[in-house]
């Protein structure tokens, strides 16, 4: 479900990830709540996936909503590269 070049944001609780999803959907941003990829350790097991083209809009919206991810990854060549 995560294509090369996609971003994956992790949050530290189910409530945070659901709040983030609501915040992003309210703005009509094309994101998807997905099971966190197995390669990434998370407490709540969920993540938000978005395309590189939406990165600025998504991350601005999360910052404004006060739900910034605890970790942020980009998928490159089948690997998850941590960028935050």
């Amino acid at each position: 479900m995560v294509r090369d070049g996609d971003f994956v944001a992790l949050f530290n609780s189910i409530h945070r990830v659901m709040k983030a999803e609501k915040e992003l959907k309210a703005r009509g941003l094309p994101i998807l709540l997905i099971p966190a990829p197995r390669a990434l350790q998370t407490e709540c097991g969920l993540a938000i996936r978005y395309a590189a083209t939406e990165r600025v809009a998504v991350e601005d919206a999360l910052a404004e909503g006060g739900v910034e991810p605890v970790e942020l990854y980009v998928k490159r060549d089948e690997e998850y590269v941590r960028i935050r």
């Binding site: 479900m1 189910i14 659901m18 998807l32 709540l33 997905i34 099971p35 197995r38 097991g45 969920l46």
Partner: protein, 193 residues
């Protein structure tokens, strides 16, 4: 040897058609005419994953796959799967509790199926479960991927009608109660969500 024409079919119909034809062929080789690109790749991957030998040749009509071998014969007796795995999804949420959490859990269940080594043979969507196969569902991408791996996605016609979503079906096909009942009773493993 039987030949089937799967050209001009929308995904995941080529895989679904080949899956049925292989079951009917009962070990006989099968020749499949396909469109170039995703249909050819999906059918080839599906057959290879199921243990068939896939040989490809190009013709003027497009690529042709020759699928042969009987994967059941190669399996160890202990590894033999008895019948199909069928999952009945009878709601648009998983478990009792807050609606929001239930929807999220079901969505994640479906996406997680993609990570399993053995994907289910059939997913049956009934009652409000049809909201997952129709317009606006967030699992359409996952259902298409499952379809390309050979999972049949079927939605209850009565339910689509009740919710007035017949013209909004975006994954799999419409089915009836006969097929639903038969699938459940004939399945090697039937799971209700």
């Amino acid at each position: 040897m039987k030949t089937i024409d799967c050209r001009n079919m929308a995904c995941p119909l080529p895989v679904v058609t080949v899956k049925r034809a292989l079951a009917e062929a009962a070990g006989e080789p099968l020749e499949v005419l396909l469109d170039e690109g995703a249909p050819r790749e999906n059918v080839s991957r599906f057959a290879t994953n199921r243990g068939f030998l896939v040989q490809e040749r190009s013709t003027e009509q497009g690529p042709v796959l020759l699928i042969s071998g009987n994967p059941l014969a190669a399996e160890q007796p202990t590894a033999k799967r008895e019948g199909a795995t069928v999952i009945l999804i009878g709601s648009d949420r998983m478990g009792d509790g807050p609606e929001e959490l239930g929807r999220l859990l079901l969505k994640n269940f479906i996406i997680t199926l993609l990570d399993l080594a053995a994907t289910p043979d059939r997913l049956l969507f009934v009652n409000s479960g049809v909201f997952l196969t129709t317009e606006g569902s967030e699992v359409l991408e996952a259902l298409e991927k499952l379809g390309n791996r050979g999972t049949e996605v079927l939605s209850c016609g009565i339910c689509l009608d009740y919710f007035q979503r017949k013209d909004k079906l975006r994954a799999g096909a419409v089915t009836n109660m006969f097929t639903i009942a038969e699938s459940m009773l004939q399945a090697g493993s039937a799971v209700r969500i």
